[in-house]
């Protein structure tokens, strides 16, 4: 507690002061009856910039974009009832991808809770399974503990979302405050077991065909450079989960890119042959492993994770190490022998040559891979790349040369269509000097299209690349491959004029279909300041390949 002069403040003023002390400078939300006292207090803040979302889910994903880009907890706000329920998807998304978020919701006054009051919903009950922890605040005094606690929890250990539900009478309650709590920051994780780290080092030294399997935890813990150093020292071919892309540059000689359902053949085949799998901050998600019993069938497993409940959850590890991966890698790498594994690296090179990721149309900017390559050619590694969810997401994951941790913002675990635009706007708000590109589809973009208005208002430096195939592409693809080509409810009969939509919201818009020199037009659009839509038509029959059928073994890939 730091002392100060005694002030009489409302709960709402205390919340705002605590957020300021926490270092929050941008937050997003939508006001409503039950959170108006906080908004009134926020109006008096000279430190916090409030971004008015057009839908609470947008506010949730703005905060996610800020948190994913910076690694720091970000804040979103909503009123009670529908405001809170609209936040739910963004909170659940943050839970599955371990993103530090603090959601603050207004609630009806305590005396009216449980009476089916206007805009009353059980926000606490609704958010129990989708938060790391949640609070229903009972008094203004409690706020002094709860707010820093919420930030501490969001940032500590495995990061995640925390919700604070504050009844209106608590926001209005006036109390004397003479001391302020320290801001909530991540508490250090206990040091990992040295004996297990030594065992892991011995296993790596003895292995003949090891593979390093990097997950989102590597990015969260800021351990990307350490992971690359380990791979280089011990000659470890490395695969990345969707969440880890950027942890190792995908064009690094040891990189095998993304594993799993839409990984390259060489990647999944190398995993099939490995005799040791070193999982670092990864959770053996089913999209990564395919049929678990057939995943790395010959391999012993070392599993390093900050969350003890991830160890042995899906695959039993031969050595499980609980700890912050940065701390563990700092201890592990010095114990690992510098080895050139010539036979194994030769074999992996052979797999890469014989079974590379095939990217048809890479030189034509009006095909999926060609468009992604053309965008990448216009930008450097300082650009941030966001996606929505669907075919475009997987094409970008496969083909974009991601080289920087936190360069890549995508909804991995929950797979939320509608994530991309608001997450990109959030990233642009957090790091205004960067160009933020959001690849999206015609299905996803309409799920949070209202945030075009917010982006225009904030002049966010966001470029939306809309790959329009007039369908729900991954559904169309699965119906084609696995449901006897019975295409149902995946083709759009009506299609908005996206150029007019964007222009109507105050965006610049480019239709690449009409451009006489698409590459030049693309470069000009990507380098102009402020929000720009780039629209490209894509053939609806284009597929993301290779593909592992849901539930099948990763070595049984279709196509590619």
């Amino acid at each position: 507690m730091s002392s100060n002069k005694t002030e009489t403040l409302s709960g709402a003023q205390i919340v705002v002061r605590l957020l300021e002390r926490q270092g929050v400078r941008t937050l997003s939300g939508i006001p409503g009856g039950a959170i108006l006292p906080i908004y009134d207090a926020l109006s008096q803040s000279t430190l916090i910039h409030h971004v008015l979302a057009r839908h609470e889910q947008g506010a949730g994903f703005f905060a996610q974009g800020m948190a994913r880009a910076t690694g720091l907890p970000a804040v979103c706000m909503a009123s009670s009832g529908p405001g809170a329920t609209n936040l739910v998807t963004a909170i659940a998304d943050a839970k599955l991808d371990s993103i530090p978020l603090v959601a603050i919701t207004g609630q009806v006054p305590k005396s009216m809770i449980g009476t089916d009051a206007f805009q009353e919903v059980d926000t606490y009950g609704l958010t129990i399974p989708i938060t790391k922890h949640n609070f229903l605040v009972g008094s203004a005094e409690e706020l002094l503990d709860v707010i820093p606690h919420a930030f501490r929890l969001a940032a500590s250990g495995r990061p995640g979302p925390v919700l604070v539900d504050i009844p209106k009478d608590v926001q209005n309650q006036r109390i004397e405050v003479s001391e302020w709590p320290e801001p909530g920051v991540a508490v250090p994780v206990p040091v990992a077991d040295t004996g297990r780290i030594a065992s892991a080092a011995a296993m790596i030294n003895e292995a003949e065909r090891p593979i390093l399997y990097l997950g989102g935890g590597v990015v969260h813990s800021g351990a990307s450079a350490l992971a690359v150093a380990l791979a280089e020292k011990a000659s470890l071919p490395s695969v990345m989960t969707l969440m880890a892309l950027g942890a190792m540059p995908v064009d690094h000689p040891l990189s095998l890119g993304m594993l799993g359902m839409h990984g390259a053949r060489c990647t999944n085949l190398a995993l099939d042959e490995c005799d040791l799998l070193i999982a670092v901050g990864a959770r053996f998600d089913d999209r990564a492993t395919g049929k678990v019993a057939a995943f790395c069938p010959q391999a012993k497993i070392i599993h390093i994770d900050i969350d003890p409940s991830e160890l042995d959850k899906v695959k039993t590890a031969h050595v499980g190490i609980m700890g912050d991966v940065r701390n563990v890698l700092e201890q592990l790498t010095p114990q690992v022998k510098a080895i050139i594994r010539a036979p194994w690296l030769t074999r992996v090179a052979e797999l890469k040559t014989n079974h590379p990721l095939r990217m048809p149309g890479i030189d034509d900017p009006r095909t999926p891979y060609g468009l992604i390559r053309a965008v990448a050619d216009c930008l450097d590694d300082e650009a941030t790349i966001a996606t929505d969810v669907g075919q475009h997401q997987m094409w970008v994951a496969q083909a974009y040369p991601l080289r920087r941790p936190r360069q890549w913002l995508t909804s991995g675990g929950l797979g939320t269509m509608g994530f991309g635009l608001p997450a990109a706007i959030g990233a642009a708000l957090a790091e205004p000097e960067r160009t933020v590109v959001c690849f999206t589809g015609d299905g996803s973009i309409l799920m949070n299209v209202q945030e075009f208005a917010t982006a225009a208002e904030e002049d966010a430096n966001v470029k939306v690349v809309l790959m329009n195939n007039a369908s729900l592409g991954l559904v169309f693809q699965q119906q084609t491959l696995f449901y006897g080509e019975r295409i149902f409810a995946s083709k759009y009969k009506g299609m908005p004029d996206f150029i007019k939509v964007a222009e109507g919201f105050g965006w610049q818009a480019l239709d690449l279909d009409q451009a006489s020199d698409p590459l030049a037009a693309l470069g000009k659009a990507l380098h102009s300041r402020g929000p720009v839509l780039i629209h490209v038509s894509i053939d609806m029959r284009e597929q993301v390949l290779p593909m592992v059928a849901p539930g099948a073994a990763n070595k049984d890939m279709i196509g590619g």
């Binding site: 009950g125 399974p129 949640n134 229903l136 929890l153 969350d307 003890p308 409940s309 959850k313």
Partner: protein
């Protein structure tokens, strides 16, 4: 089924979990929610405040399943759960309650 067989059966198939938790509204919901979302039935629940009432003790009787290890780890992660201890099915806390369930 005679009494012996029943006891033996329970000894094989049941576990009693003892949880020290913070005592406020919602804690029970956090705990049982972890079980219900996994369709893992809780066979018995007892809870009473301890000491001055700042904390409570929750006793759970659950079926022994392969998922139990994961369940315990999940329960241990809850912010309001201070400690988790595991006991065999024959722990007397539920046996002594049986007279209220005749």
């Amino acid at each position: 089924m005679n009494a012996n067989t029943k006891t033996e059966n329970q000894a094989l198939s049941r576990t009693v979990l003892e949880l020290d938790v913070n005592n406020h509204a919602g804690v029970m919901s956090h705990v049982v929610g972890l079980f219900s979302r996994r369709a893992y039935n809780v066979e018995g629940i007892l809870v009473m405040p301890v000491g001055n009432g700042e904390t409570s003790r929750i006793w759970l009787m659950v079926n022994e399943e392969a998922r139990l290890e994961q369940m315990v780890k999940q329960v241990e992660k809850l912010e309001d759960v201070l400690a988790v201890r595991r006991h065999g099915a024959t722990h007397e806390v539920f046996e002594r309650m049986e007279e209220y369930f005749r």
